[in-house]
């Protein structure tokens, strides 16, 4: 299965660093999990909002690590 997964991947043409084929595969899998988790969390908080339950939301959580860092307002 692992070998099958590798066939989907190749490294970027301009990279001087070897990203490791295993790590590239894993990254896409883990990123999909993280993306899904974020999606569900988002809806979970919205649902809580509908029922009037207030919890520390994602924005506030993010603010904790942002402290003195520049906010990602650049878009």
């Amino acid at each position: 299965m692992l070998v099958l997964l590798f066939t989907f991947f190749s490294t970027s043409a301009h990279a001087y660093l070897d990203p490791g084929s295993v790590s590239l595969v894993l990254q896409s899998v883990v990123a999909a999990i993280a993306g899904a988790a974020l999606f569900w969390r988002h809806w979970y908080y919205r649902l809580l909002g509908i029922f009037g339950i207030k919890k520390k939301d994602m924005g506030e959580k993010n603010a904790e690590w942002k402290d003195d860092q520049i906010k990602a307002e650049d878009e």
């Binding site: 692992l2 070998v3 590798f6 066939t7 989907f8 991947f9 190749s10 490294t11 970027s12 301009h14 990279a15 001087y16 660093l17 990203p19 490791g20 084929s21 295993v22 790590s23 590239l24 595969v25 894993l26 990254q27 896409s28 883990v30 990123a31 999909a32 999990i33 993280a34 993306g35 988790a37 974020l38 959580k61 993010n62 904790e64 690590w65 860092q69 520049i70 990602a72 650049d74 878009e75």
Partner: protein, 464 residues
């Protein structure tokens, strides 16, 4: 002029030192990309605070600074970077410093992805510290993000940041010596084996370390060549979610092991009055000699580094071999925004010159500019008795580091020295006050003796 041998891996550019300034030559393939980057809002907002200040300069300025015409002509574009006071390496950082450097790397990656940039590597050597503040020094690492592209530096991030931090947080193993032994970052397979089995139930550790290590082992065992095809795109929102969760995870990590010296202030052989007297001696030394930069050897939790700053020193470099103590020193300095840089440094086994041709990473002494003053408090017995370094070797080395300094002598009658000699024969016949004074007077122009009030300890102020 000299070329920095720590910057040859990326063919897009090289760093040069000339006339006390830092330059970077950039290849024709990367010049337009770097030019666009340093004119972008993304860079401008972070220049000087998160990313090192970088200005394009005409080639002739590089020549007039002392870079050879041949070198100047072999690069398409030249930039100048603002100078970092002291270049340090990840194996010299405390746990909290590595954590801060990792957070900065991830913040730049996430904010970059939001603005159309990505990083092409995630080396911890790309981050430097100005006191306690991390700053990203490699502008060449930023490239334009192509939709669907994975993050090339993911494995490297795990090797340089995540693995050492988890090793310290979950196994209680300080990563510094591991990192020094392996400049490419920690081996994920080794770290996975060293981590307690319970970490397999922690989602982030399982996914990024154990699973990756397991898969790497499987691949290392196969000999067949896999045909490469185009990779399946990774959606940008998934990438951002991944690195955001990783950043939140790293932020929460705490160093596991409590060290003895972490509580030193509460368990040393000093009474309140002698401690106050030692503080007075340190303060007066800084003020009377108008010392601007201090090297505090054996700084422990940074108590006297803070005294030095309080007395007017503009910059203090504190070093110690105890990872727990330097972690506290770093946190204290960061919370109070003090101009103190804290380093892990083993005097009896200091950072060597190593890497390619012994020139890729330099010794601390090669990187350190001689400070105006030096503190060497309660350290001599650890080196002479604890590590069997002859007292004369030690004193000559210490006095050579700075033109003026304070050296504290801890006599054999002191409980801390008695503890060191408890289980061994006292072979240290030359460890006595008279011999120490003779050596100090031999090395220096002037030696002043300060007896510490209600203590058997003595502080010597030397002046070369």
């Amino acid at each position: 002029m000299s070329r920095d041998y720590g910057s040859f891996r990326d063919p897009d550019g090289h760093v040069f030192f000339a006339s006390d300034r830092i330059f970077r030559g950039i290849s024709s393939g990367a010049a337009s990309r770097v030019r666009r980057f340093i004119h972008s809002d993304f860079y401008k907002k972070r220049a000087g605070s998160q990313i090192v200040e970088t200005t394009e300069i005409p080639s002739k300025e590089a020549v007039s600074a002392g870079i050879s015409i041949d070198d100047v002509n072999s690069w398409e574009m030249w930039v100048e970077h603002s100078r970092i006071p002291l270049i340090t390496y990840p194996y010299e950082w405390s746990f909290e410093s590595l954590k801060e450097a990792g957070r900065l790397t991830l913040s730049l990656l996430i904010d970059g992805l939001n603005c159309g940039y990505t990083l092409k590597d995630a080396s911890a050597f790309n981050v430097q510290f100005i006191n306690t503040k991390p700053i990203f020094i490699d502008v060449l690492s930023f490239t334009e993000y192509k939709e669907g592209e994975p993050f090339i530096g993911y494995k490297q991030f795990c090797e340089h940041f995540l693995a050492p931090l988890c090793l310290s947080a979950y196994a209680g193993i300080d990563y510094n010596t591991w990192f020094r032994g392996r400049l490419e970052g920690l081996d994920l397979v080794e770290v996975s084996k060293a981590l307690p089995a319970t970490t397999r139930f922690r989602m982030q550790v399982l996914m990024h370390l154990h699973l990756q290590a397991w898969a790497m082992q499987k691949v290392r065992a196969t000999t067949s060549v896999v045909k490469r095809k185009r990779h399946r795109p990774v959606p940008r929102r998934n990438l951002i979610a991944l690195f955001d969760s990783l950043r939140r995870f790293i932020t929460k990590l705490q160093r596991k092991r409590q060290s003895y010296w972490q509580q030193y202030s509460g368990c040393n052989s000093y009474s309140d009055s002698s401690q106050a007297d030692k503080t007075r001696i340190a303060r007066e030394f800084i003020m009377e000699n108008d010392i601007r930069e201090v090297l505090d050897l054996g700084c422990n939790t940074g108590e006297y580094s803070r005294v030095a700053v309080d007395a007017g020193a503009q910059r203090v470099i504190g070093t110690d071999v105890d990872c727990g103590a330097i972690d506290i020193a770093f946190k204290e300095a960061r919370e109070n925004s003090l101009p103190i840089q804290i380093l892990y440094f083993d005097i009896a086994n200091p950072s060597p010159d190593m890497g390619w041709m012994h020139r890729e990473r330099l010794t601390l002494e090669q990187r350190l500019r001689s400070p105006g003053g030096l503190f060497c408090f309660a350290l001599i017995h650890h080196i002479v008795i604890g590590r069997n370094i002859p007292i004369e070797f030690f004193l000559r080395w210490v006095c050579g580091l700075a033109p003026k300094g304070l050296i504290e002598y801890v006599p054999k009658s002191d409980p801390m020295v008695k503890g060191l000699l408890r289980d061994r024969e006292d072979i240290f016949v030359d460890y006595d006050q008279a011999n120490l004074e003779r050596i100090l007077q031999d090395i220096n122009e002037r030696v002043v003796i300060h007896a510490v009030q209600s203590s058997s300890r003595v502080i010597y102020a030397y002046e070369r």
